[in-house]
């Protein structure tokens, strides 16, 4: 079916930059094509959001059970205990405890943060913010969600198989994760679930990277992209390159478990050519360290934008922020060994890894100072997205500082595998991303769903979240410094930890407060979805492209592909008196000719 010669009669030969027709699709008409097997990036974003929130709640409940066991060792778990562990008098059995912290980590990382930050906001923001009608491969986008759905089912099945789910910690180190340590099917399902969810992530990453390269609206140069898009794009590059590494580790582990290969089983003698358990740690952390940046980069990008929006100033040092994020991506590849200082690696190697780890603090500090400089002397509007963004800055700062002790070999050998580590990584990649997710949800909810959320409730939610969260992860550093290892089941068995038990209990109470505060969010979310005030087109008065189109966004996003003139945060321009923001696709009132910037051309920057 060739339509040669038909095109030029279409009236589409003007400024419409891209004409890749893969990404343009007709309006869906049936229920299934509109809401279930949709190829529309906005619908897929919502699917990812709901799936991610479901898993976030599931992983959160698991965290509560873990904290119950640590705060009140051996006491029957309220509510859940009666249903799940009747034979044990309602108390959490040791195996279930291991299984719970394993699945808490796995679920939060692969099934909550990834779909919310990357799946939902990546999908929603990238095409809207770069001025595209959809992702470049909409069908691949749909497959990405359904692969994630299949992975979810595989992961969920593990909870119900005989022998229980994986119980090795989310790092799944052999020999524990081979059939010697985990004979049940739970571990195999875990490895398969990680592999399939990795396939989903790679499909998404290929789509995001290509979309940003090919579908930016005319005039939208790389340095006019909102920082949100930069964060998501760099994340996708890391995803595309390093998720396959955990994929290979998962495949080899599956082969060891199902087909009897011996990649990770040392056997009686290494001379016999048996496998090497440490090999898994290499593969895991070659992926695992970029992964922590994969999780945090979208939040960095998003709050870099939000801080500028609600300080009503352009982001300070836009390019420095971009280059810092890129530098962190590069360095993140060279530091994985700092997770393995205690495996007996060569001191020369570990010194190299330590040096690169310390180097990361340079771009991180630039990034951090840019955030502070952005809000410095700004006209701060303490909206709920702004509060959560400031929360990210706060907890990320704390997490960054405590990371210095872990990147340094001498202190790491003492602190390795203690609760100090748990507190540190929860500050950086759990708390920061948690708060960043809420900042994003509060910020884009009006555009996604066409309704406003209740402001007063969101602010209460913020304060009831940030206070217990800071206390509980902060106090974890103290118990870790006091010598408490990770993954201990029954703290009452260790005399040297007895004096820390009141602190443990207070951490648990804090965690329960944090957990209960999330009900405010759940209520706010669903109430606003049903009865919220109708959202205006641009309620936050900002200039990025997604706020310049009607709400709800039509399925084709832009009736006409916008022509981009400005950067993403043209706030408080002195030459404008009627309002303090300028849209990216509005010609500036006075062209800064002295800067010698070329006029945006009608030709696409991305094509050819």
């Amino acid at each position: 079916m060739e339509h040669a010669g038909h095109g030029d009669a279409h009236g589409h030969d003007d400024a419409h930059g891209h004409d890749d027709d893969d990404h343009i699709h007709p309006e869906p008409t049936t229920f299934l094509s509109k809401y279930v097997f949709s190829v529309d990036h906005k619908v897929i974003a919502k699917q990812f959001l709901f799936a991610g929130l479901f898993w976030l709640a599931w992983g959160g409940v698991m965290a509560m059970v873990i904290r119950w066991q640590l705060g009140y060792p051996g006491r029957p778990v309220p509510v859940l205990g009666e249903f799940l562990w009747q034979e044990n008098g309602g108390a959490l059995p040791a195996y279930s405890y291991s299984s719970f912290f394993t699945m808490h980590g796995t679920i939060m990382i692969f099934f909550a943060i990834t779909p919310i930050m990357i799946g939902a906001f990546g999908n929603f923001c990238i095409p809207l913010m770069i001025g595209a009608r959809d992702m470049i491969f909409p069908k691949l986008n749909m497959y990405s969600f359904w692969a994630f759905f299949i992975a979810s089912i595989i992961m969920m099945t593990g909870f119900f198989v005989p022998g229980g789910h994986a119980a090795t910690g989310w790092t799944a180190y052999p020999t524990l994760s081979t059939t010697i340590g985990q004979p049940g099917h739970g571990m195999s399902l875990w490895a398969l679930g990680i592999f399939v969810s990795g396939a989903s992530t790679i499909m998404g990453a290929v789509n995001y990277i290509t979309t940003v390269i090919r579908l930016r609206a005319p005039g939208m140069g790389y340095f006019k992209l909102p920082l949100t898009v930069w964060g998501l794009w760099l994340t996708s590059i890391l995803n595309a390159l390093f998720v396959p590494v955990i994929g290979s580790a998962g495949l080899l582990l599956l082969m060891d478990r199902l087909f009897g290969t011996t990649f990770f089983i040392a056997g009686s003698s290494i001379i016999q050519g048996q496998g090497d358990p440490i090999l898994f740690q290499h593969l895991f952390w070659i992926f695992g360290h970029p992964e922590v940046y994969i999780l945090i980069l979208p939040a960095w990008g998003i709050i870099s934008d939000l801080l500028a929006f609600f300080a009503r100033k352009p982001a300070y040092g836009y390019k420095a922020t971009v280059f810092s994020m890129a530098a962190i991506c590069v360095l993140s590849v060279l530091v994985y060994g700092h997770h393995m200082f205690t495996t007996g690696m060569s001191p020369l190697l570990s010194q190299g890894f330590m040096t690169f780890t310390m180097l990361i603090s340079v771009p991180s500090a630039i990034l951090f100072l840019n955030w502070l400089a952005t809000i410095w002397k700004g006209s701060l509007h303490f909206t709920s997205p702004m509060l959560f963004s400031l929360g990210v800055v706060f907890v990320f700062g704390l997490g960054g500082l405590t990371g210095m002790y872990l990147g340094n070999i001498t202190t790491d050998i003492y602190l390795h595998d203690t609760y100090f580590v748990v507190g540190h990584f929860h500050f950086t990649m759990a708390a920061a991303v948690f708060l960043g997710s809420f900042a994003s949800i509060y910020f884009w909810f009006p555009k996604m769903f066409g309704k406003m959320m209740i402001t007063s409730l969101s602010k209460v939610h913020f304060w009831l979240t940030i206070v217990p969260l800071t206390y509980l992860f902060g106090a974890m550093h103290i118990v870790g410094y006091g010598g408490m290892s990770r993954r201990l089941f029954d703290l009452s068995r260790y005399e040297f930890l007895w004096h820390l038990q009141p602190l443990q209990t207070s951490i648990s109470i804090s965690a329960f407060l944090l957990g209960s505060a999330q009900f405010i969010f759940v209520f706010n979310f669903f109430y606003s979805l049903a009865y919220g005030k109708k959202a205006a087109q641009n309620p936050w008065a900002v200039g990025t492209l997604e706020w310049q189109i009607p709400t709800p966004v039509p399925h084709y996003n832009f009736a006409e592909i916008p022509l981009v003139y400005n950067g993403p945060h043209e706030m408080s321009r002195p030459d404008m008196t009627d309002r303090d923001w300028l849209a990216q696709d509005e010609p500036p009132p006075s062209t800064p000719a002295k800067r010698g910037e070329p006029e945006p051309t009608a030709e696409p920057v991305a094509a050819e």
């Binding site: 040669a4 004409d19 290509t210 998720v243 290979s248 290969t261 011996t262 990649f263 593969l283």
Partner: protein
Amino acid sequence: MTPDVAPRRGRKGRRARDMGRIVGLVVFLGSLGMLFLSLLFAYAILRASVPVWPPAGEEPLPVAQPFVSTLLILAASVSLHFAGRAKEMAKRMSWLGAAAACATAFLVAQGFLWWTVWSGGWVPSTGGYHSVFYGLTAIHAAHVVPGVVWLLVGLLRTWRARSAGASKMPSLALVSIYSHFLAVVWVVMFVAVFLA
């Protein structure tokens, strides 16, 4: 009411679309490349942990059989190259058919190789040496299978274009990039696992 958001047709639109797909495929091959690199890295770590390779007590793998496989997958790549350069549909179809046949023969040769080693008593659980052999070649072969299907789809589309009397041949750019990539991966694997 609904604005005109139809895609642009014609040569320019098609070229932009094909370019987008090529960029997407290259990004994906970056992913796939990292998968194979990490497998080779795993092999390097295992190999570095023993004094001699193959480890004491394990029989060296055959070289002649995988060499035939190498010739076959290279032949598939070369045929595909000529298929891409062919100006007439009939010629392109025969080159495409040859490529698909060679790729299939590669899979058969690999199956025969596994069968030979396996029936010699060298099953995966005999040790790291044979784990590497089975694991790496199987993951590579698992990526060749969709390549063969893709070649057959290309053949079918060319055949349908010819029966419909179309003047333009369906592009082979994507399937060629993918196939050449897998051929290169195999050559590296052959050298690393069987020769080195």
